[in-house]
Chain length 393, copies 2
């Protein structure tokens, strides 16, 4: 997988007209550089430079204690080890390659392209002092967005697998649900099933799965489950994802807990759930390579509002891959906090969630989250679209 | 624990004459901010600001989806939630507090104090544009070094516990070792024992435990174990640590594999092992609050060289805590790559490893790693000092 992404990076550097991409890091166990997952793959300790060029060169400069590991892995054609300091080797390699642009990992808007810490940035400037290279640094965000976003066949296979396993656990918890259970009990039960299978969660276990039953008392999506009990007449939703073989799923499902004598959800619950489902269908049908992300969000957002509900206080969808939130682009509104992300065009091979939500007064929150892959012809569902609300008897 | 460290931070801000410490982050699951482990404790998604002041104020500004979680936890006196962007709330809070210094998380030399990414630094400058506060940013590294380094009684208790459990597993693997096992088999066996107890490793499982038998063929400490077999006449060493209740151990132990007819290690092996043990004893006896880290390294380094061995190609010791490599200060030589770290004074309450090594020609590598806490009167061992080489029969 690492070498596959390195080869993909070479092609992207050509496409973007960037001579050299430099990942500069240290103590990978302390500070997580998201790009290291894609094209480094092993731990490193001292200041380390991973260099990929548009001409297809791959060079790792690492501390002497890490040398053997990188040689053994063999994903970098050249491995250079140092003892006292990285300066000399780094300057020599750069002057041999003499790149006109050096892309480094910072981005105002995309956290997955912003792995270079500010201290390391300042250190890099010091190391390059007196060379022309300090003046040739550019952000690598467009290279990283392409590399992370455009999934290979193997990456898609792994994401599909994580989705399938999550759907199986949703089917299992559907059997388990009953009035009287607390949010926390449901959370623990689902987590135990995941652990039995040896799976990691796609985000922090404290709120994976998130479980919400009934009308929210305070706050929103990212809270851990509470001791609140499932009651008849509740709308209940969960947000759950698994990380399997390094790739994630992220799916939400909604139930209605039938009251005595009911055989279906009441019309106002149906109406809310329908608004969510139709918003997803409309957004998925609208997705196409080249369209800006905010326009996809807008299709769903307008639909929700036109049905008489408040707009959801978040983006419609994010990419999924090595992380549950897998970087730029994004199906998000043009709010300040999203910076330039709303304007990035959708690309073939990207995998997105679609996850609108509505508050149904007196019942709770309906929210469904599906996952699509962008093909040449538009969005294709990777998950089994929940088109009907599930019932707890 | 979080509130305990927040209170400690208030006192350190007073001591260091810093008005305000700002942790600015986002997507905590993608980019790991090491200081968040100490004084935030929960996940956050959108741009978030965690503010501690020398007057004892604690303010969290987070996205609306994270608000409920931070209110529930109650560790921050004030929790402010936003939807569109953080700018307005951040500027208002700063202008109310009007700090003369705003310490932010970057450091050229200490990775654990360098959690602010370069993109977020640039974004912070944008957010503060037109206020006096962009001009009042200073690095928080001295605040962080004190906060992370000076362990509380509870932190020491947890580190001791991780050390004890690691020592128990070393005792167990001592029974298991025999000629013919491969490095990888020993690695897997020890890892299985740790997993049975439900423990995480202190660093990446690929090389935790690291296992080295005989004369190294290529490379050094940070390699994963290979299919090389333990043979009679080998010196064998392991490097292993556990993370239990968020705190780490990190210990190395050395064995000699007896040849037919031997009842003890040969004199040249004894000599190498003795050089390591005596270097540790000398360094531990030399440690005192106020002494610069490089001088501790130098005591051990000079001893190793005076015994006729090559100096070890790394630092003598690092701090241990939430991470196995727990930030500044360091017992390290005055090499370029360590920047200002060699000159930081040792402080009471810090916990350090001491880990010299020697190559014993024809046999392998002898290395022992112990852990000490710095008291007013000097270093006190937290681990059970391995003073004799262990024998495999």
């Amino acid at each position: 997988m690492i070498r596959e992404k390195i080869e993909q990076a070479f092609a992207i550097l050509q496409e973007k007209n960037v001579d050299l991409w430099l990942i500069f890091g240290r103590e990978s166990h302390t500070t997580h550089e998201p790009c290291a997952d894609l094209v480094v793959g092993a731990a490193y300790t001292w200041q380390s430079a991973f260099i990929l060029t548009r001409t297809g060169r791959s060079i790792a400069i690492v501390g002497n204690l890490d040398e053997a590991e990188f040689r053994k892995r063999g994903e970098y054609d050249t491995v250079i080890a140092y003892k006292g300091g990285i300066r000399e080797d780094l300057r020599r390699v750069l002057s041999e390659l003499d790149p006109q642009q050096i892309a480094i990992n910072y981005s105002l808007d995309d956290p997955t392209a912003d792995g270079l810490t500010h201290g390391l940035y300042l250190l890099l400037l010091q190391l390059l002092e007196g060379t022309p290279y300090a003046g040739r640094l550019i952000p690598a965000e467009s290279v990283i967005a392409a590399l992370r976003g455009r999934k290979s066949a193997e990456e898609l296979r792994r994401i599909r697998h994580a989705i399938r396993e999550t759907e199986d656990l949703y089917a299992a918890v559907d059997e388990y649900l009953r009035p009287g259970l607390t949010e926390r009990e449901v959370h623990e039960w689902l987590l135990d099933r995941a652990r039995e299978k040896g799976y990691e969660t796609a985000w922090a276990v404290e709120h994976c799965p998130a479980v919400f039953t009934g009308v929210p008392e305070a706050g929103e999506a990212h809270t851990g489950p509470t001791h609140k009990k499932i009651e008849r007449g509740h709308v209940l939703n969960m947000d759950f994802g698994l990380k399997i073989s390094d790739y994630c799923s992220d799916l939400q499902r909604t139930w209605y807990v039938l009251r005595e004598g009911e055989t279906a959800a009441p019309p106002e619950v149906e109406k809310g759930f329908r608004a969510v489902v139709d918003a997803i269908a409309k957004a998925a049908a609208f997705v196409r390579p080249g369209v800006e992300g905010w326009k996809v969000d807008d299709v769903a957002r307008q639909h929700i509002v036109s049905c008489g509900f408040d707009e959801y206080p978040h983006a419609l969808g994010h990419q999924v891959g090595r992380s549950a939130h897998d970087g730029a682009g994004l199906f998000c509104p043009r709010w300040e906090r999203y910076g330039n992300l709303p304007y990035l065009p959708v690309e073939e091979g990207q995998v997105y969630t679609i996850e609108p939500r509505v508050h149904i007064a007196g019942y709770g929150v309906a929210t469904v989250e599906e996952i699509i892959v962008v093909t040449r012809d538009g969005g294709r569902f990777l998950s089994s679209f929940q088109r009907e609300i599930w019932l707890v008897h």
